[in-house]
């Protein structure tokens, strides 16, 4: 199923009850196993778009299709099994008394047999390198550890698509690097909303730029980041690695090749 899975958004619009128009006619296709960044200013509609991908918000205008399912109330259990969502604040996601119980929360709700739940908990924690945190209460973890645990809670549901909201926010540089390396190893379809454009450079060959609820640009990351005017119009800046060096005044001069770090 994974190889044929496609995200198709057609003419999606959403207004919040207070009248704020967060999305105004968005159309997108995302292929299976693609890694896509969603960038844009604060309030451009990134988080609202993500919430539509797993049916946390369902709009009356436009459609969202995940593989064979159209996102609608009846299909929510299937959608949520397919689309794993990692929230911006791990404290919102880790609500059980211990990390292991939190990771088991989703699989138990899927009514999987206990042995299978155990296997998934162990493998998800192993995958993010957090097996040693199993029995710790979430409030005692560091920011980086919380983030890893939050990702494990979603991996345990074995989703085909990972949706992440600001995965690198409030992480120290080392934890951020660990996260990037971890995500680079995942074969899932990834959709990452972020302000961390250097992370985009490392993880996402394709970037979608949102501006005032509309798609301002959609294309290869290197092309988009080379367009200074577009970035400025969308309240963005070139990633630091593409900017002139503050010491010697020279640009590093080239975009990184796939898998290469400058």
């Amino acid at each position: 199923m994974r190889s044929s899975l496609l995200i198709e958004i057609r003419d999606l619009a959403h207004a919040y009850p207070d009248g704020t128009e967060a999305l105004r006619g968005i159309s997108l296709h995302i292929r299976a196993e693609e890694s896509v960044a969603v960038v844009g200013a604060n309030g451009a509609g990134k988080s609202t778009l993500l919430l539509h991908l797993n049916g946390s918000l369902i709009s009356r205008h436009g459609t969202v299709r995940i593989g064979d399912f159209q996102v609608a109330k009846a299909a929510l259990p299937d959608i949520r099994r397919t689309v794993g969502m990692v929230f911006q604040d791990p404290d919102d996601q880790l609500f059980m008394p211990t990390v292991a119980e939190d990771v088991a929360f989703g699989p138990l709700n899927l009514k999987l047999p206990l042995a299978e739940v155990e296997r998934r908990v162990a493998s998800a924690l192993e995958r993010v390198g957090a097996a040693h945190l199993r029995d710790r209460p979430p409030y005692k973890l560091s920011g980086g550890e919380k983030r890893l645990a939050a990702i494990a809670t979603v991996l345990a549901m074995e989703p085909a698509i990972l949706v992440m909201d600001e995965p690198s926010s409030s992480l120290d540089p080392r934890a951020r690097r660990t996260l990037i390396e971890l995500l680079a190893g995942f074969g899932h379809t990834k959709i990452i909303a972020t302000h961390d454009l250097d992370l985009v450079l490392d993880l996402c060959p394709r970037t979608i730029v949102l501006r005032q609820g509309q798609v301002a640009a959609d294309g290869p990351t290197d092309e988009i980041f080379a367009d200074g005017r577009l970035l400025a119009a969308c309240h963005l800046e070139q990633p630091l690695r593409l900017q002139a060096c503050p010491v010697c005044g020279e640009k590093s001069g080239r975009l990184p090749q796939k898998g290469e770090r400058l």
Binding site: D91, F95, N109
Partner: protein, 270 residues
Amino acid sequence: MSTIESAFIDLQRLDRLAACDSAVHRLDPRVKVLITLAFLVCVVSFDKYAIAGLLPFALFLTLVIGLSGIPSGFVLNRVLLAAPLALLIGLFNPVYDHQPLMRFGTLVIAGGWLSLLSLVLRFCLTVGAVLALIATTGFNAVCRALEQLGMPTVLAVQLLLLYRYLFVLVEEGLRLNRARVLRSFQGRGLGIRACSFLLGSLLLRTLDRSQRIHLAMRCRGFDGTIHTRNPLRLNGRDVLTLTIVLAALLAMRVFDGPMLLGRFVTGLMA
């Protein structure tokens, strides 16, 4: 350090103590909850002048705390912290109740003093027992036990989430308060008005967060029940302990131990 911060550290200490291992820790949480309930009912059901009858219960609690390896200083400190409350409640007993109940030579002790002492003693025993329960079981396991003993699931889920997010809430409140204190000078800005804004903002943040948490739970298939991996199982040792301890508590409540002991000793001497 503000009291709220030290209370916070206390909670963490309780959690650490609950993670220790001892014969008492290993008992099924339900057994411990039932024993604590029986203990509480027995202690509060004594008549208002009872003191001697309570002593076996104090002995029992000391024994349990000793067996579980919880530092007795920790429990004692917390009980003493709470004791002024009981003193306050019983403060007027000696004023209103002059009925002489005890006589040592020329010293007559009025009923009011006895009932005050009894009240304080009972307070210490009940608070001590609940502290010992949580320090040997952990708050979460107590919740789970209560749920399996018939408490409504909604309430159990509420308690679990309350405990988890207490830490987040306290941290958020402390941050807000720190920001307020740093911009208050000579007492200005520390008044009730600023405090009400602070609490209001904390409430709004909490509502926002609760919505996000609910969303995160729904995303992982939450349907109102929290399923757990290791359902509690009673073993023979648990049942035996429960039976023996309940019988002992009942006996301590029905028979006046100190009186029997006194009679026995005077009988021997005579």
